[in-house]
Symmetry: C2
Subunit: 311 residues, 2 copies
Amino acid sequence: MRERATIKDVAARAGVSPTTVSHVLSGQRPVSVETSARVRQAVAETGYRPAAIARSMRTRRTETVALIVPDIANPFYPTVARGLHDALDGHGYRTLIGSTDGRRDAELGFLEDVVSRSVDGIMLFGHSLDAEDLRTVVGGRVPIVLSSDLGAGEHDRVVVDDVEGAEAATAHLLASGVTDIAFVSGPKGLGPGDWRLSGYLRALGAAGLAAAEDRIVRGDYTVESGRAAVGRLLAGGAPPRAVICANDLMAIGALTAAHDAGVAVPGELAVIGFDNIDAAGLVRPALTTVELPAYEIGRRSGELLLARMSG
Amino acid sequence: MRERATIKDVAARAGVSPTTVSHVLSGQRPVSVETSARVRQAVAETGYRPAAIARSMRTRRTETVALIVPDIANPFYPTVARGLHDALDGHGYRTLIGSTDGRRDAELGFLEDVVSRSVDGIMLFGHSLDAEDLRTVVGGRVPIVLSSDLGAGEHDRVVVDDVEGAEAATAHLLASGVTDIAFVSGPKGLGPGDWRLSGYLRALGAAGLAAAEDRIVRGDYTVESGRAAVGRLLAGGAPPRAVICANDLMAIGALTAAHDAGVAVPGELAVIGFDNIDAAGLVRPALTTVELPAYEIGRRSGELLLARMSG
DNA sequence: CGGGCGTTGCAAATCGATTTGCACGAGGTC
DNA sequence: GACCTCGTGCAAATCGATTTGCAACGCCCG
C-alpha cells in the first residue's frame, strides 16, 4: 500500500459510489446503517484520510491561518504565535508562519504567497507595507488582523498601544525628576520603534520640553545594537540620565553598555524596555519594562479571525 | 473585480487557450513572442496569480514544510524555526508550525493532518511517538527529519547528542571533585529530559558511582518547575553540591531556588543547564550551559529536507 | 389502485491549474 | 512533388474530493 487510498478505493471496497462515501463521512445526507457500516469498515481497512488539498479545491477553505512577523526568533513573537495557536487549534486551524525581517519585499512576497494559497485568515505584523499594498494584494478576500494602524477602519486590529505605553513610561520618568532622557528606536520608518518614539516625543512636548537630536538613536532590535547605541550615548560628554529602548533586547544590551562604561543602573542611568519578555525578569539589575501582553494579543487576534472566518 | 482572476480569464483576455497561458508562464513549451507578449499583458492587467491549491492538486507538491515542536514559546524552538526558515525560504518553501505540548494525541493529530495536507517535508521533535506510529502515519511518503533516535535508520536525523552532552557535563563536574550531583529531568518517558538523564547516569557509572534515587527529580521544562524541584532538593538534610537541569529554563528556576535558600552559586551549588538560550547569558550569576546549536539544527534539517524533496 | 412522499444511492459537474496527444502550416531536403 | 521536421496552439484528461439533480424503490393514504 505504497500510495494513499483515495475515496474511490474506499468506494470500490465497500461496493458503493464515491458520493456515498462522502455522505457517510460528512453526514450531509442520510445513508442507511448497513451501507454506512460497510463504508466505515472500508475506511478503517484502507486507512483512508481525505486529501486536504482536493477538499480545499472544492470547498475553498484551507483551515489555515498565516502569521507574518519580522523575526520569529525575537522572543515577543513566539509568544504571540502561541496565543494565536491556542485560540485556533481547537477549531482545527493550522498556522503558517513567516519571518520577513521587516523587509518590504519579503512582507509583500509572503502576503501574496499566502493569499494565493487561499489561507482563511491572516495576522500581520507589517513594518513596511501601506494600506494600498493591502488593498491590491489582499483585497477584501481574506480576513486580516493587523497589529498597527495600517488600514484602520477596513480591517480588524488588535490594538497594541505603543504610543500610549511609551508616553506613560516617559511621563513616569519626568515625574520622578529625570528630564534628560534618551530614546533608542528601531530602523527609521514604520514599525513599533517609531510608534513608541512618537509617544516619547508627545510626553516630552506635554512637559514643555524639546527633544534633543542627539538623544534619539537607532538600533535594529537586537541586543548587540542596543549595546552599541547606548555605548555611543554614554561615550559623549554629557550622558543622559535615562534611556528608553524600543524593545527589551536592546534594553538588555543597554545594561551591558552601562556596565562596560562603569555607569550604575538605575542609580546613574535608568533603563526602560518594551515587551516584558521572559529574560527581562532574569537579568540583573532587573529591567523596567513596558509590558505588551504578547500572548493575549495572539489569542485575541485568533478569536477575531475565527469570528470573521466563520461569519 | 471582487473575485480573483483565473487562468481562463487571462486566456480569454489574450485570445488564447488556458494551455498557452500555462506554457507562457512555465516555459515548458515554446510560445511565439507575440502571443507571449499578449499573455503577459493580460496577466498584468488582471493581476492574475495562479491558485496554489489547484496547482498542488496537479503537481502533488505544496512547497510547504511542517515543523512540529512541543512548545513554540519555549525559546529553543523559535531559533530552530528560524534556522529551518532561512534554509527553506530561498527555495520558495513555507513553514507550517504546530505546538503539541508533547502530548501524544496532539503529536499524532498534527502529523496526520500535515500528511493529509501533502506537505513536502516534516521536521519533528516528537516526545511520545514511536517508530511504529511514524510508519503507519507517514509511511515512506514524506521526507522527515527527526531530532531523536526515533526510527533511526529509516529517516534522516539531525543529531542532537543529548546523551553525550550530559555525559560530558557530568564528567566535567566529577573531574573537578564534585560527586554529589543531582539531576532535574523532564516528565518521565521519552524526550530530551530522560535522554540527558541517561548521559548523566552513564558518566556516574563510568566513575564507579551509583546514582542515588533521591538525587533524580522531575520538572516540566518551565522555570517554575525548576525552582520547585531544586527547592525540594535544597530543603532536604544534605543538599547536593551540584545540579544538572535538563534545560535552561529549569536551571534558571534553580538559581532562584538557590537564592531563596541562601545557597551561593556556584560556591555551594553548581548549576548547569542545557540549550544555551539567550537568557542563559543574561542571568546573574551566569548560567553554565550545555549548548545545543538550535539555529544550526534547524538550518541543517532544512538542507537535509531540501535534498530529499528535490531528489 | 394511483398519486404523493420520504429514503437511498449514483452519475455528472465543479473547483483551477498542468500536461499529454494531436493537428495544422511553413520551410527544407532529396 | 513526396516526405520530414519544426514551431505553435488547442482539446481533453487528470488530480481527489464535494455537491447538486435525478431515478428507483418502497410505503402510506385516500
